[in-house]
Amino acid sequence: MIERVTPCATVGDTFESAFEILKVAGRRDEYVYRAAISHKILMGTHSLQSASMLNEFRAGSCKADLVILNGTATVYEIKSERDSLTRLANQVENYKRVFAKVNVIAGESHVDGVLATVPADVGVLCLSRRYQISTVRDAVDCPQRVCPVTVFESLRAAEAIAILKSLGVLVPKVPNTQRHAALRTLFADLDPATLHVEMVRTLKRTRNLAPLGELVDQLPNSLQAAALSIPVRRSDHNRLVTAVATPLRAAMAWS
């Protein structure tokens, strides 16, 4: 591929070329799906100002690939053509305990298999050969089915405390070795739907992506999903942008 790029191509151009290769149906891996959701749903339908996104977010015994928070929390399980569907039923069961809406996004070859595997309240999306997302079936928005204890186990301690406080629940002062157990007990008594609303509100604040907007705008499309999911120190943003704009020939001489 490096031989194919033109003499004046930048590092960023090279990532774009690589992404064009990966985008072809049959070769697409999880990142292509992640990029499609980031562009077409997070930044397309919503915006970084109004919505946020979580990557690899723990939910029960699984980790959710991608969660988008706007008015509700929607999880997207990615099943690229390179993935198998063996874990899907269990994953979906775990996600329903934390998120109001559960979606599976798959390539055309997987759609029938997904429909046969997941229950009717789970949404199914298809990433077409032409890199378009189409809705095969809408997800049911059902916040009352979440399990408060499973939600609690997914959160950071500070987030759990913030949620309890905003719900008016008194958080007792206990030694830190007992704190987790104490918070867990308090969560167990919460109303699922009320908790879900507050969880979305809190996570949108604690996992806010708006500060990344400027960085994302300066990166080529192929790298934007990565910029939203891989933490880069604020002080390194400019270095990253500069590196991406460097001619490839110069970059290849880096040690």
């Binding site: 723990r58 186990e153 206990v174 030694p175 830190n176 070795t177 007992q178 704190r179 987790h180 157990a181």
Partner: protein, 311 residues
């Protein structure tokens, strides 16, 4: 005498700093392999060692961590702050990929810092010993046991020889047995013709960067058993909860409760060290001070236990 071998992560350096007076009093000489790019913590630690009247060996060509490619900043630190100072020696790590010429060059570069050779995989002991023959009587050679066996060590018999053995069998926290043998080197080193001994404390020779969340929390505590010829053993107190990555504080509480139960059983053979006092206080308060701090207390207990044994 005793040479605890530390990788210079944050809590290792803090341990050396806080233990500097005891280390100096017992003439224990820590070996420090700096693994972090920033050298501020190392400098503070070496200053504490010097202020306490102790000694330390600093590896100038670390094999692990940020200085793997280039250790010149460590050499720079020694030359700036610790020149003409007999307390701080430059340690040269001899790995399998080094030639005799490279070792000698590094040795010459650090001639003003009492260079100590740390043998850890080097393959030409005979040639090296011949080249250093004139210096050997005044030198210290440190051998990491897995890499430098009896015949290898013989070449350096004119020098002070220290044998370092990794007594800690590192595994996943959840998999540790309740108790196992650690080492008898503190009893046998003289019989092996050595002038001192060392270990990798309760951390082990295996190096890892931080790592992910702990599924289980383990507290490692060493003890010397007078009923078993003073062999050192180690208890592993592991939390009961070990199937989620959450709640390290609660898991620490579980592991600590096991420590206290063992101590209060009256037959633990654990020495009531300053570190154990702190574990008792944490238990009373129900406080988890962080995993790094817990590791520090275990290392402190280990050093205090050996200090008591050597007397």
């Amino acid at each position: 005498m005793y040479h605890p071998y530390f990788r210079g992560k944050q809590f290792e350096l803090i341990t050396i700093r806080e233990m500097a007076p005891l280390l100096a009093e017992k003439e224990f000489v820590p070996i420090i392999e700096p693994v972090r790019e920033a050298l501020g913590g190392l400098k503070k630690t070496l200053t504490a060692v010097c202020d306490a009247g102790g000694r330390a060996i600093v590896i100038v060509n670390p094999y692990h961590g940020d200085h793997q490619e280039d250790g010149t900043s460590i050499t720079g630190l020694l030359q700036e702050g610790f020149i003409g100072n007999d307390a701080i020696a430059a340690g040269i790590l001899l790995r399998s990929d080094m030639t005799v010429a490279e070792v000698l060059a590094c040795y010459a570069d650090h001639s003003d810092h009492n260079p100590v050779l740390v043998h850890a995989g080097f393959t030409a002991p005979k040639d090296l010993a011949a080249a250093l023959a004139a210096d050997l009587p005044d030198m210290t050679n440190v051998f990491v046991d897995d890499h430098a066996k009896l015949l290898y060590r013989k070449h350096f018999s004119d020098s002070d020889r220290i044998l370092v053995r990794d007594g800690f069998k590192r595994q996943r926290n959840a998999d540790y047995p309740a108790m196992e043998e650690f080492s008898d080197l503190h009893v046998t080193y003289a019989d092996l013709g050595m002038d001192g001994f060392g270990d990798f404390l309760i951390v082990g020779d295996v190096y890892s960067e931080g790592g992910g969340p702990a599924y289980a929390v383990a507290i490692h505590l060493s003890f010397i058993d007078p009923d078993k010829d003073d062999v050192m053993y180690i208890y592993h107190f592991v939390s009961d909860t070990k199937d989620t990555p959450t709640d390290p504080a609660g898991k620490f509480g579980q592991a600590l409760a096991k420590v206290i139960a063992k101590l209060d059983s009256g037959n633990s053979k654990l020495l009531e060290t300053e570190a154990i006092k702190e574990f008792r206080e944490l238990h009373e308060k129900g406080h988890f001070p962080g995993l790094g701090y817990v590791k520090k207390l275990s290392m402190k207990h280990h050093i205090e236990t050996l200090a008591d044994y050597i007397g």
